[in-house]
Amino acid sequence: MTVMEQRGAYRPSPPPAWQPRTDPAPLLPDAEPHRVLGTEAAAQADPDLLRRLYAELVRGRRYNTQATALTKQGRLAVYPSSTGQEACEVAAALVLEERDWLFPSYRDTLAVVARGVDPVEALTLLRGDWHTGYDPYEHRVAPLCTPLATQLPHAVGLAHAARLKGDDVVALAMVGDGGTSEGDFHEALNFAAVWQAPVVFLVQNNGFAISVPLAKQTAAPSLAHKAVGYGMPGRLVDGNDAAAVHEVLGDAVRRARAGGGPTLVEAVTYRVEAHTNADDATRYRGDAEVETWREHDPIRLLERELTDRGLLDEAGRQAARDAAEEMAAGLRERMNQDPALDPMDLFAHVYAEDTPQLREQRAMLRAELEAEAESEGERR
């Protein structure tokens, strides 16, 4: 007779309130990032989708190089390039319906443009004539967000509000690997899970937060493993495989729309360029690492797949390049024009109505500008 058996009534029972509410197993990501291109799964992928992704990737790459060129010409104050990350940027935009919302981070102008926002308006922030250059309601794209991870709770709140109103709207929010360390990331994911809000969180793990490599950012098996701690599924995907990213995000969006709650997607990718044009990446990483990633370039992967399957020939490639060049030319031309500036705009949108204090300051600036104009007039 064991000790236990002797004890009669005294049997350990779980603490009464102990009810694991979620089975953790299905929430955990696979050990390897999900891939489609170059695998059996690619055969199932919709050829039209693949071609569309290809065209957008080529355009996206061209957009990145054009924007970087604009910084050299002094037409942009700064540009954080998403070169090498175009698969994530493009898939995030394409996976959404019209009525859905995109919450981009500061690096995601490409996703914003891919969603339909005018490229010049998308670059307004980085040109410096205003902050958000587009009307967020026109394409349902929240302002490009610079304070890292702070846009994530906004996405949760918006998705939650939509659900309360009975609209089947999904919000997709983008954040970097570095951004996952912020408290706002944690709070947003927790609220989303508790409220079962229709949100998809896309973490672009591009290996660096400016100079800080992932190993100094987290000790987790993967960033997707954070999901289980909130009670939502975590998914790991090869972020340079546009078809895979589109598929994983698509599943998450559908799940969210159907009332299944939020998903955390980690896309493993790489920031091929420096942090911004102002950064010197050689201070913290070697060329060799960058080179291994060029091998794994998102355009190259998709091009190979399409070519192998006979879905793309040289004419098709040329057509994509031509479209991209046309976009770039238009962008160049429009960005070379000086934006119209009115200093009085400083006061235009601080409040719905000026406070008496702002009225005084407005009058002061107006007087200054008039005096300036006058003295310039005199000089002429």
Binding site: P153, G157, E187, Y351
Partner: protein, 334 residues
Amino acid sequence: MTTVAVKPATMAQALTRAMRDAMAADPAVHVMGEDVGTLGGVFRVTDGLAKEFGEDRCRDTPLAEAGILGTAVGMAMYGLRPVVEMQFDAFAYPAFEQLISHVSRMRNRTRGAMPLPLTIRVPYGGGIGGVEHHSDSSEAYYMATPGLHVVTPATVADAYGLLRASIASDDPVVFLEPKRLYWSKDSWNPEEPTPVEPIGRAVVRRSGRSATLITYGPSVPVCLQAAEAARAEGWDLEVVDLRSLVPFDDETVCASVRRTGRAVVVHESGSFGGPGGEIAARVTERCFHHLEAPVLRVAGFDIPYPPPMLERHHLPGVDRILDAVGRLQWEAES
């Protein structure tokens, strides 16, 4: 006008009523925060709202203030009018980044396309015997943040009127509730609520000719008491209740100071870098030649809020106010 028997009500009840009426009038109004639902808030200011309007309209959130304000921003983006409760002044600090970087700027950032009609209720100030982190006066932080309105009632009627106005505002409002006035009573008829006050108008609570006490929130009753006590010293003090720190009612304040020629600003918040500096400076800029003495300040000391047993030495009381009035260079007049 009907003459209904007017029963005394507390400021807390008036605030509850303001939210209730706002929720009834507009389905976009949503209340959220820690313990605001089932419990009705630790001060019971949201009492009954979850029951009447359902959990979706009055929601207990997870315990995370940045998350509360951040999700409220998202809800406002989608057309709701969230009314957020921060449980205590000091527990609003985790939400500062959301407040400063987003709430106060979203309209501006988007050229007016994305205004945020948000009310952030913050119980503030001391005098309730609270342990550390429960009695801060944080209004200086909010005042220094362009894009926010900062409103604080001192009477039961204003609590209703100003909260309705704040919820109706298309701009974000930090609504500061003086904790120690939650249970202050006034003959205010909840069945016939006072009109919604426009934000930005100060009010003269007591007329006087000798000097002006400029104050707000929890210090208004103290100033009124001081004004009564001052009669014994031969001073007839005017008391101006600002009601709104942003926008600031220069007109009412300066009209009073020009009349009296002397002023003392009174608040619980610390003196250095506190609201009083701004108020004294702007009154002086505008009324310099009417001033018989510098505008003085009676405020909390420049120390972390003290423990309950010492708070009475910290809070501006009648004596300290009268001492300041006494320093307004009366000899200079004669």
